[in-house]
């Protein structure tokens, strides 16, 4: 991490590590752009975990059974934990957590757009587990082989926990589908609301994706947006059938020739609006995070003052 100017030897070493599918570690020299891209990627992922606590956290106090309450509380806690690892991973690249938090609440860095949709019934908790965590896993499993070591290792742990969350979400939906007509209706209605936004989680079509090429060369990413999206659709269709819900896409059908499901056109204007800040909950999510952060300022200051006092041996003055 000493050289700031590009150095042919170091650059060669970096390229060869990547080529050999070995991992870059915090002590290794990396090109400035790799560092920047990696920090941005990890920070966005961390922010997504933190903001993602809000839509689900919205139902903790109202969860209709104590078992579901415990599961949901543990899940939201896991997301805070994921945020913590990921901020730590970003710190190994020289980023500062306080600064990253500022970037989030001032809208300078993004988080996954999926969390800008509201959770409107308890079925949303299940559908987020099933579809949103499902899509996240599709996105993230390849990241366990990311070229940057600390991120890859964080992703292994995160993916394990997310698979667990996904199964829990799907199991909640199975239970609800065996329940009252009102419960079944809730599940269908939540599926209708979350399906298309879940497909948007894979980002813009490959043709419009600005970061993909370089990220793939650096082995930060391993598959294109459209490849992952297709994988997700193919995976979800039989799950929906097993559940007994209809995915809200009349064009969705098996294409034997491609060996994949065809599906309808995504509303990219909605995607762009939400990404650029004008989704149903963007303002609410950011304002909430900002408020919590500001209301915690005096607490963080107190902790810092206390630590400084004790470090300074102020005990003697007692």
């Amino acid at each position: 991490m000493t050289a700031t100017v590009s150095d042919p030897d170091l650059e060669g070493q970096f390229e060869s590590t990547i080529a050999r599918d070995q991992r870059i570690e915090p002590r290794d020299w990396v090109p400035a752009d790799y560092r920047k891209t990696m920090i941005r990627m990890i920070a966005q992922h961390a922010h997504s975990e933190i903001i993602g606590m809000q839509p689900e956290g919205n139902w903790i106090t109202r969860a209709p059974s104590l078992r579901r309450k415990a599961i949901l509380l543990a899940k939201v806690q896991d997301e805070a934990g994921h945020g913590l690892y990921l901020y730590s991973a970003a710190e190994t690249l020289g980023a500062d957590r306080t600064e990253l938090t500022e970037n989030l609440i001032e809208g300078k860095q993004k988080y996954s757009s999926i969390f800008n949709y509201p959770t409107l019934t308890f079925a949303d908790v299940g559908v987020i587990g099933w579809l949103v965590d499902g899509a996240a896993i599709c996105n993230q499993v390849p990241l366990c082989r990311s070229s940057y070591g600390p991120y890859a290792r964080a992703m292994i742990r995160i993916c394990k926990e997310e698979s667990f969350h996904q199964r829990q979400g799907y199991e909640l939906l199975l239970t609800m589908m065996k329940g009252t007509p009102a419960q079944r209706k809730m599940v269908q209605e939540a599926t209708d609301r979350w399906w298309w936004p879940s497909l948007m989680m894979f980002g813009p079509p490959d043709a419009d994706s600005s970061h993909t090429a370089q990220s793939m060369a650096w082995k930060i990413k391993r598959h294109t947006n459209d490849e992952l999206r297709q994988r997700f659709v193919d995976m979800s269709v039989p799950q929906a059938e097993a559940l007994g819900v209809t995915l809200p896409d009349p064009e969705l059908k098996w294409n034997a020739e491609r060996g994949h499901h065809d599906f309808g056109e995504i509303d990219w204007s909605e995607f762009k609006a939400v990404v650029s800040g004008n989704g149903p909950c963007n303002a609410q999510r950011t304002a909430h995070r900002k408020k919590a952060h500001e209301q915690g300022a005096w607490v963080r200051e107190a902790a810092a003052a206390y630590a400084a006092k004790r470090a300074g041996g102020d005990d003697d003055a007692r």
């Binding site: 078992r67 309450k69 805070a80 919590a292 209301q295 915690g296 206390y306 007692r318």
Partner: protein, 248 residues
């Protein structure tokens, strides 16, 4: 027996209701580390509540939690007070865990083997909870001048509800005689000693305030709560009561 049921509801509702107030902190903590810690305490208390409501035995844990009326809840009023700020959280959590740890330690010797086992598990958990809360009492009390004022204010809000913690109900008195329950009055000395130690460490005076009376001598343990309780239950029970026939 009816006494054992009532007693399990007392200890179980304390955990259930305070867990609810901690759940309200989700996404609101000052740091991610506290986010994780508060959720963890909320989870442990929820776990204790589930074991205790199950031990109560006459109904399922969910029937107890979601289909009782307010006056059937037996928690002390301390647990139901509105969420408040981080200093109130700290004060309440410190007071509650110090008291509960003292109760649970004694309860490990209960003649009821299930209660004894629940207490055994709880002691481990609440030891950690108390430590977390005490460390924040010290950091806020001995942090900045501002945090010290807020910490004192936090104790001022919570302390009037401390008196209630040491008043045994009829049920508790009978179960003490039977060797099953713990006399809360027996924990007061230990409680006051721990508070004195932590306050000394935090360089703040030991809190002091008159106990807020119940209504005609009846308070949380008799199902007489504060006005905050109705709103808490409205939220806690809303989905379950909207779908009384559903299973989740």
């Amino acid at each position: 027996s009816a006494d054992l049921e009532a007693y399990c509801l007392m200890l179980g509702d304390d955990a259930l209701v305070l867990s609810h107030r901690l759940q309200e902190w989700s996404t609101n903590a000052p740091e991610l580390e506290d986010e994780v810690a508060i959720a963890n305490i909320a989870l442990d208390l929820l776990g204790q509540a589930r074991l205790l409501l199950t031990r109560a035995g006459a109904r399922s844990e969910d029937e107890y939690a979601f289909f009782r009326a307010e006056h059937e809840f037996r928690n002390v009023r301390l647990t139901e007070l509105p969420r408040g700020d981080f200093a109130e959280l700290t004060a309440r959590l410190f007071v509650f865990t110090t008291w509960r740890l003292a109760i649970l330690r004694r309860l490990t010797g209960s003649r009821d083997p299930v209660l004894a086992a629940i207490a055994e598990k709880g002691v481990k958990e609440v030891t950690y909870h108390r430590d977390y809360a005490a460390r924040w009492v010290v950091r806020l009390g001995d942090g900045t001048a501002y945090s010290r004022d807020r910490m004192l204010e936090g104790f001022a809000v919570v302390w009037p509800y401390v008196g209630e913690l040491f008043v045994p109900s009829d049920v508790e008195e009978r179960l003490v005689s039977a060797g099953v329950g713990v006399d809360p009055a027996s924990t007061e000395e230990e409680f006051r000693q721990v508070v004195a130690e932590v306050c000394a460490e935090a360089r703040i005076p030991v809190p002091d305030a008159a106990a807020i009376p119940g209504v005609a001598g009846r308070a949380g343990r008799h199902g007489v709560h504060t006005e905050a309780m109705g709103y808490l239950l409205a939220e806690l029970q809303s989905v379950a009561r909207t779908h009384p026939e559903a299973s989740w």
